[in-house]
């Protein structure tokens, strides 16, 4: 026994001389990752992700919004927006990508800039981008997590509350005002600023233009507030030319993130056609041959450019190649993604003037400038697209002069035409103004009773992971379906 005890004693001495777990702290640090990055790397990433990948551009922008707004149409059953079908995945796509990618990254950058004590241009630019991203979300879904969103790591908020859209809008407007005010003459984020390449003047103009956009969004819900902020935005200085367009330049690779998300869709999905509604409206428009081509042979002869009715299927249209689809020149993966165009700014100013609000210039001037900008931006955005000349613009305006009697309708229809491929904005403005007057389809199996949807639905996952806040939002806003109107649409 003694021998054994001695042996075990000796062994325990050996063991106690070993230091267990030594070096484990170093081992558990990922050798392939960094513990922090320069903010410029993150800013470029956040901008590209805001422009988005194929996933959400396909589902949210094209499959739902472009068809609901009758820019495009499709016979394919999965193009759910064409016939107002319910597809949870497609309806959730923007939410599924924006919160885990864009919002998380923007909040991370905001926290980093704050901790670095940055209160200058960089913070201002980021705040504008942040408002833009949240606008897309709230305009589609209504009440959304805003003030607490994207802060799972920063503040440990796992279940962000849903803010009322009204509160979100009021805060976003204030954010824009503050953001523009803190942008100086220059920024350290030159090459990582994939929107304006470090041109802070353009950032300020975009900030103010977005203030105008958000203000005008409120004309139905709170006209007085809309007026006040719109006038403030105009006074502060909005975009002044197509040079000011807020857009992200894309390239043809190598990765998906580098490419224009819409462009990736066109590569993969040939089921979209130009909507009859849109083509009919465009029939006397110089943009027609630039925007469309016949699917079967690429012809751009005016007579060959026929739009396909929404609500069609393989039975009603066995051969859909006779219809027009988007012109190949606009379909590249290396074309820019437009966030906000100068044409929109002028058309909203036209509407302000139409409403008699304080804005320099009259409605007709702004209308004509808006139409001209919308037509001529195509040549500057899309390299392969032939420029529309001043003469063509003048001819068009002469044939279709501004008529104050139906000014709002004309302005809004032009807005609709100017926002092709900026489907988020097109859908927003249609819901606000009701123009153009669209005839809904009523296809078997639609979930809206044959009316054009007014919003997209929240992800089912929110009921599981954030049920209380989800419930509160639904109680406040109305049933979580496609027909409930969001606050500014009421």
């Amino acid at each position: 026994m003694k021998k054994i005890l001695l042996t075990f004693f000796a062994l325990s001495l050996v063991l106690s001389s070993c230091e267990f777990g030594e070096g484990f702290e170093e081992m558990n640090i990922d050798p392939n990752k960094a513990s922090q990055l320069d903010v410029s790397n993150k800013f470029a990433s956040a901008i590209l992700k805001t422009s988005g990948g194929r996933y959400e551009n396909w589902r949210a922008s094209l499959i739902y919004q472009s068809t609901m707004i009758q820019h495009l149409s499709s016979t394919a059953g999965y193009w759910s927006g064409d016939k107002y079908f319910r597809s949870d995945q497609y309806a959730n796509a923007l939410w599924d990508r924006y919160y885990p990618d864009v919002i998380k990254e923007i909040e991370d950058i905001r926290a980093q800039l704050t901790s670095e004590g940055n209160s200058g241009s960089e913070m201002g630019m980021l705040r504008i981008l942040r408002v833009f991203a949240f606008t897309r979300l709230t305009d589609i879904y209504g009440d959304i997590p805003y003030s607490e969103a994207g802060q799972g790591y920063i503040n440990g908020i796992l279940k962000p509350k849903y803010d009322a859209q009204q509160d979100i809008y009021m805060d976003m407007l204030k954010e824009l005002e503050a953001a523009v005010a803190q942008i100086g003459a220059s920024t350290t984020m030159g090459s990582s600023d994939l929107i304006f390449q470090g041109n802070t003047t353009k950032w300020k103009a975009w900030g103010n233009s977005m203030m105008l956009r958000l203000a005008m969004r409120l004309t139905k819900a709170d006209s007085a507030t809309a007026k006040a902020w719109a006038e403030k935005a105009v006074a502060a200085g909005t975009m002044t030319s197509n040079d000011h367009i807020a857009m992200v330049q894309h390239t043809d690779g190598p990765a998906g993130i580098n490419k224009n998300g819409h462009g990736e869709v066109w590569q993969a999905d040939g089921n979209a056609r130009m909507s009859k509604t849109f083509m009919d409206w465009m029939s006397d428009d110089p943009r027609l041959t630039v925007l469309a081509q016949r699917t079967s042979d690429g012809s751009t002869a005016v007579a060959d450019l026929i739009g396909m009715p929404n609500g069609s299927d393989g039975n009603s249209i066995p051969d859909n190649s006779i219809y027009a689809s988007l012109n190949d020149d606009l379909k590249g993966v290396d074309v820019p993604m437009v966030f906000h165009s100068y044409a929109e700014v002028r058309l909203l100013k036209a509407e302000m003037a139409f409403r008699g609000w304080s804005v320099p210039g009259d409605a007709k001037t702004h209308y004509e400038a808006g139409v001209k900008a919308a037509m001529q931006m195509l040549g500057s955005i899309y390299p392969k697209t032939a420029a529309i000349t001043d003469a063509q613009v003048a001819d068009y305006l002469a044939a279709k002069p501004y008529d104050a009697a139906k000014g709002w309708e004309m302005i809004s229809e032009q807005y609709w035409a100017a926002t092709l491929l900026n489907e988020y904005e097109s859908f927003n403005n249609w819901r606000r103004t009701g123009y153009p007057t669209l005839t809904p389809v009523n296809y078997d199996g639609n979930v809206t009773g044959g009316t054009i949807p007014r919003r997209l639905i929240y992800p089912v996952s929110e009921q599981n992971t954030n049920g209380d806040n989800y419930g509160a939002a639904v109680a406040r806003q109305g049933a979580d379906n496609f027909t409930t109107r969001i606050w500014w649409d009421k």
């Binding site: 026994m1 062994l11 070993c18 777990g21 030594e22 484990f24 702290e25 081992m27 558990n28 990922d30 392939n32 990752k33 960094a34 922090q36 990055l37 410029s40 790397n41 993150k42 470029a44 590209l48 394919a76 059953g77 949870d88 599924d96 919002i103 998380k104 991370d108 997590p145 969103a149 994207g150 802060q151 799972g152 790591y153 440990g156 908020i157 796992l158 279940k159 962000p160 090459s191 994939l194 330049q249 043809d252 190598p254 993969a268 999905d269 089921n271 299927d313 393989g314 039975n315 066995p318 051969d319 859909n320 078997d444 639609n446 089912v460 996952s461 929110e462 599981n464 992971t465 954030n466």
Partner: protein, 1037 residues
């Protein structure tokens, strides 16, 4: 520390193997049973003295004795034998069984122990049972054989992973599979890719590369007491696999085994409507955008109708497309082994070639395995065992699962029943048009032509794996030994995936080339004593040791998108190329000990303790511990040895124990947030962001699993009937879970020590020798398990944890952990019902459709009850065995049936009078009036589109009973072999999964789930489980 420990251990082993000189002033030898199998732990005593030793794990002993002394050899269950020592220094003894209990089981750390001393439940399965009626993944052969062990194969054919869960899942969303230990060395069992919600391909798991013909025995250590000595990784139980050695071979023994097996798809389950063909709204559709996946057309009338390719064919039922698409799978397994043994060493070498052609066209598996096991004695104090395995595996054409574009099973199931899949083979028989691009068969480009998916997509991999172990033992004195072990499992893995040029959803195609290198090392050193008599009647078997496990993975990949030269499949032939690199490492260091006290050979108390340090829980400035100490105690009382229980009871053992096991985080680097640069930048800017979608937690600590178990082992009527019963109750505390976060937080989950799950249940094994004569024998066994799991806590707010959902999000189904409920509820949209339980409908347009009700628990994916009924028969030289296996109490979501309904193939979509007569849903409107509205044929599909939104519609019982195994064999009588060089020959007919005796679901086999992960209970267009029949021939020379 790492280097220090490795140096220490390797010098330890080398020292054992080569360093010591041999003392020869003693008598030594081997104690074996009557079959020549070594008996470890047998007692050798010099009569009349207290001078005694026990044999080591190879039955070897060495004792100091003088000539003329009487050596007494004894071992429980064997007749004691005395030998008078002569001049020879070697005395080998063969003990005869005394017809009482003589079972030896392999327990933790490879220690062979008599079953009497084991205070916990352990089940041993003979290797013969795995190899005679084999599955390409050996572990699938455990199905239905071991109470408490649930084995689920994958729905992807021969190459799939298996999910093994012992005594219920103990983690909410971490790893729930057991630790595999082969010849004392832990191996890696990671899934090499698995299918999930978005599809994907299963490339098999680690255990699938183990050759069933090499397996000597499998021991399943179910509880924590059994597992405590393997440490944290054993918290879900341990499956110990011992491979065959050359022990007992006389001269040179050669064995040859060949098996040929044929897999025949069992689609007899599919029972769909064959009255209505392709179309919508009750009429046939033509043109390309013609919904080839809708059987909502008119009544099939044989008239000529234009189809998807513009060709007119009769509008008739064309037969089962799955029958036409799949082929008979073939598997040929050939093993040759050579064994040799002499006094001091034994060696076995084996080589196996497995050649499988899967049921999916163009899918195959080839595997060459080589194994060498060698045991050597150097003198009478040192023994060294070396085990090596080398496996080369080549997989081609692994089918895509679930929703993946390129899943060929989806179209094979769902094409409208007036379409014939064999008209879709295209110009080359592989789904291509004349220009070499995909021959489209649907308006939806993501529904890929199945022939194109099978032949043109590339999902192939090659794996080269080496598993090696050295075990060395040095008997320091007659009561003390030192053992050292070094083991490694490393593999290199090459995988190629390509979406071919010309695929409709990705016209320019893409390719990914990936290479992975994995390494895992284990090292242990321990010192111990066997059967040391401390005082009279009290013996001690004990050891203490240190060990470490180190794992490292490195992955390099090159991807390319958009092929430049069409059909040239090479990653350099792509426009957009990118690279990937990743690596990780993790380590556990441990100190452990065990002591077994034996009293008078009938009462045994075993206590163990272990402390593990985890690198995955280590972080600078961390306040909470990165290590945990845990202990166990178990007691075994062989009452039949001390109390006279009468003649009927031949053996009775009571056992009980309490154990703890702790565990660390599975993944390294989870304690802090990290950032990475991705892509190749954009227009001069670099892109960087947060990596990972789980919120890190710097203060994660080890979780603990505590278990209490009781049981008895009763044998009656001269061991003719045995009953082994166990009750267990375990609870996992502080499970490291990803607490679900709303994705609006920016993350999917937050890491926390918040999970708490309990499992309690019974395990019953009854074996009986029903009849035995010289010519005829019939043995039967029943094993039964009933496990009740309960989610005790999920997070601080008691919220649900969602661990997965089917692609059909509309169903609202999530596999969800809900506090107070069983593990893994299928939680989803229900029907809204009135007070009488009738389904409430609402008008959608002018038809009534069911109203989507609230989310409810619709079932649980894990079956609590399982049963296995086995019988073996022998008549003269013939033998037969049968195994029936069943599971009860579980449910599953059938995505297959959901889509059969949406697409109009399911029989439920044809009302009694036919669709033409209209369909009146059974239920009420919201105001309580009974529905009388008849939905016309043209709108019935809209009704069934609505049921897609109601998960309840397609969640049902997963109960089944199946004829899992059947074999009939014949041993050629030795008289026939006389004069030939063959010493033994047998031939058998074998069958697996031959028959579903009962099945609670329609159209699908409830076993066809697609996930080897925790999201159990989801099925969606998986491959039907095939029937396997085959022939096995075994020759010994």
């Amino acid at each position: 520390m790492k280097t220090k420990l490795f140096n220490f251990l390797s010098s330890f082993v080398l020292l054992f193997a080569f360093g010591f000189s041999v003392q020869a002033q003693s008598i030594s030898g081997t104690v074996t049973d009557d079959n020549g199998v070594p008996l470890p732990g047998a007692t050798v005593l010099v009569e009349g003295t207290s001078n005694g030793v026990s044999t080591d794990f190879d039955g070897n002993y060495s004792i100091n004795a003088s000539s003329g002394d009487t050596l007494v050899f004894s071992f429980v269950g064997y007749t004691t034998q005395s030998v008078v020592a002569g001049s020879s220094a070697t005395v080998n003894v063969s003990l005869q069984p005394d017809n009482a209990l003589s079972e030896v089981v392999v327990t933790a750390l490879g220690v062979k122990r008599n079953v009497k001393a084991v205070g916990y439940s352990i089940t041993q399965v003979d290797g013969e049972e795995l190899s005679s009626n084999k599955s390409t993944n050996a572990i699938n052969s455990l199905q239905g054989k071991v109470a408490g062990v649930v084995v689920t194969g994958s729905a992807m054919g021969a190459k799939g992973s298996s999910r093994v869960v012992i005594r219920g899942a103990s983690s909410l969303n971490g790893n729930n599979q057991p630790l595999y230990v082969i010849d004392g060395i832990t191996i890696n069992n990671d899934n090499l890719g698995a299918a999930g919600m978005w599809g994907g391909t299963d490339y098999g798991d680690g255990i699938s590369s183990i050759n069933p013909d090499d397996i000597e025995s499998v021991s399943v250590l179910k509880g924590g007491a059994a597992a405590a000595l393997y440490g944290s990784r054993a918290s879900n139980g341990v499956i110990l696999i011992n491979t065959k050695s050359g022990a007992g071979a006389k001269g040179i023994g050669v064995e040859y085994n060949t098996t040929m097996q044929f897999d025949i798809l069992n689609n007899s389950l599919v029972d769909v409507q064959t009255m209505y063909g392709q179309g919508r709204d009750g009429v046939h559709t033509t043109g390309f955008a013609n919904r080839t996946f809708d059987s909502w057309g008119g009544k099939l009338d044989g008239s000529m109708k234009e189809q998807f390719d513009g060709v007119s064919r009769p509008y008739s039922y064309t037969g089962d497309n799955q029958d036409k698409f799949y082929r008979v799978g073939e598997t040929y397994t050939n093993t040759i082994s050579v064994s040799t043994a002499n006094e001091n060493s034994n060696t076995r070498f084996s080589a196996t070639n497995l050649d499988n052609k899967d049921v999916t066209p163009n899918s195959s598996l080839k595997r060459n395995s080589f194994s060498v096991n060698n045991s050597n004695k150097f003198g009478d104090k040192i023994s060294v065992d070396v085990n090596m395995k080398y496996v080369l595996e080549d997989q081609v054409g692994n089918p895509q699962m679930a929703d993946g574009p390129g899943n060929s099973n989806w179209p094979a199931r769902y094409f409208a029943n007036s379409l014939d899949i064999s008209t879709m083979t295209g110009e080359d028989g592989m789904g291509a048009l004349a220009d070499g691009t995909e021959f489209g068969t649907s308006e939806n480009i993501y529904l890929t032509n199945p022939w194109w998916s099978a032949y043109k997509f590339i999902n192939s991999s090659k794996k080269e794996r080496f598993i090696g172990a050295v075990n060395a033992r040095y008997d320091v004195t007659d009561y003390l030994y030192l053992r050292g072990r070094l083991g490694g499992d490393r593999y290199s893995y090459r995988k190629t995936n390509s979406t071919p040029y010309g695929t409709r959803f990705q016209p320019l195609g893409s390719i990914n080339e990936q290479s992975r290198n994995f390494k895992q090392y284990d090292a242990d050193a321990f010192i111990g004593t066997d059967n040391l008599q401390i005082v009279d009647d009290l013996s001690l078997t004990a050891f203490v040791g240190i060990g470490t496990n180190y794992q490292n993975m490195e992955m390099v990949s090159v991807s390319g998108g958009d092929f430049i030269v069409p059909f040239l499949i090479n990653v350099k032939n792509t426009k957009n190329q990118s690279t990937g690199y990743n690596s990780w490492e993790k380590q556990i260091e441990s100190v452990y000990g065990s002591a077994e006290f034996g009293f008078q050979d009938w009462a045994y108390l075993t206590v163990t303790a272990r402390n593990d340090w985890f690198s995955t829980l280590s972080l600078k400035d961390k306040e909470s511990p990165n290590n945990d100490l845990y202990t166990s105690a178990s007691l075994s009382l062989v009452l039949s040895d001390v109390i006279d229980l009468g003649d009927t009871v031949s053996f009775l053992k009571l056992r009980g124990g309490y154990s703890q096991v702790a565990g660390g985080a599975d993944s390294p680097y989870a304690l802090s947030l990290s950032y990475g640069i991705y892509g190749q930048g954009h227009l001069g800017a670099s892109l960087g962001t947060i990596t990972g979608s789980t919120i890190p937690n710097s203060e994660i600590t080890p979780f603990e699993k505590n278990e209490t178990e009781f049981g008895f082992d009763l044998r009656m009527f001269d061991n003719k009937l045995s009953i082994d019963a166990t009750y267990y109750d375990n609870e996992t505390l502080g499970d490291i879970v990803g607490v679900s976060a709303s994705q609006t937080s920016g993350y999917g989950a937050a890491l926390a020590n918040l999970g708490n799950i309990s499992n309690k249940g019974i395990e019953l094994l009854i074996k009986g020798e029903i009849m035995k004569t010289d010519d005829f024998a019939w043995n039967a066994s029943i094993n039964y398990t009933n496990n009740t799991s309960k989610v005790v806590a999920t997070n601080d707010a008691g919220g649900n944890i969602s661990i997965g959902n089917p692609r059909d999000l509309e169903t609202g189904i999530n596999v969800t952990h809900i506090v107070g409920e069983q593990w893994g509820a299928l939680y989803g949209n229900s029907y809204e019902r009135d007070s009488q339980g009738r389904i409430v409908h609402i008008m959608q347009g002018d038809i009534p459709v069911p109203k989507i009700g609230g989310k409810k628990i619709l079932g649980f994916g894990v079956a609590p009850e399982s049963i296995g009924l086995g019988s073996t028969f022998r008549y003269k030289d013939f033998n037969a065995s049968i195994l029936v296996e069943g599971k009860m109490g579980g449910s599953f979501y059938s995505g297959t049936n959901n889509w059969y309904k949406v697409y109009g193939l399911h029989k439920d979509t044809v009302p009694a009078g036919g669709r033409e007569a209209g369909f009146t849903p059974d239920g009420v409107m919201e105001d309580g009036t009974v529905i009388t509205t008849s939905i016309p044929m043209s709108k019935q599909e809209d009704y069934w589109s609505q049921t897609l939104n109601i998960g309840e519609e397609n969640v049902g019982s997963a109960d089944y009973m199946r004829l899992r195994q059947l074999s009939i064999g014949y041993n050629l009588p030795s008289s026939m072999l006389e004069g030939s060089f063959i010493t033994n020959a047998s031939v058998s007919l074998i069958g697996r999964n031959l028959l579903l005796l009962s099945n609670s679901s329609d159209n699908v086999d409830p076993e066809s789930s697609y996930a080897a992960g925790n999201a159990v209970g989801l099925e969606r267009a998986g491959l039907p489980v095939p029937r396997t029949i085959g022939l096995n021939i075994n020759l010994k020379f």
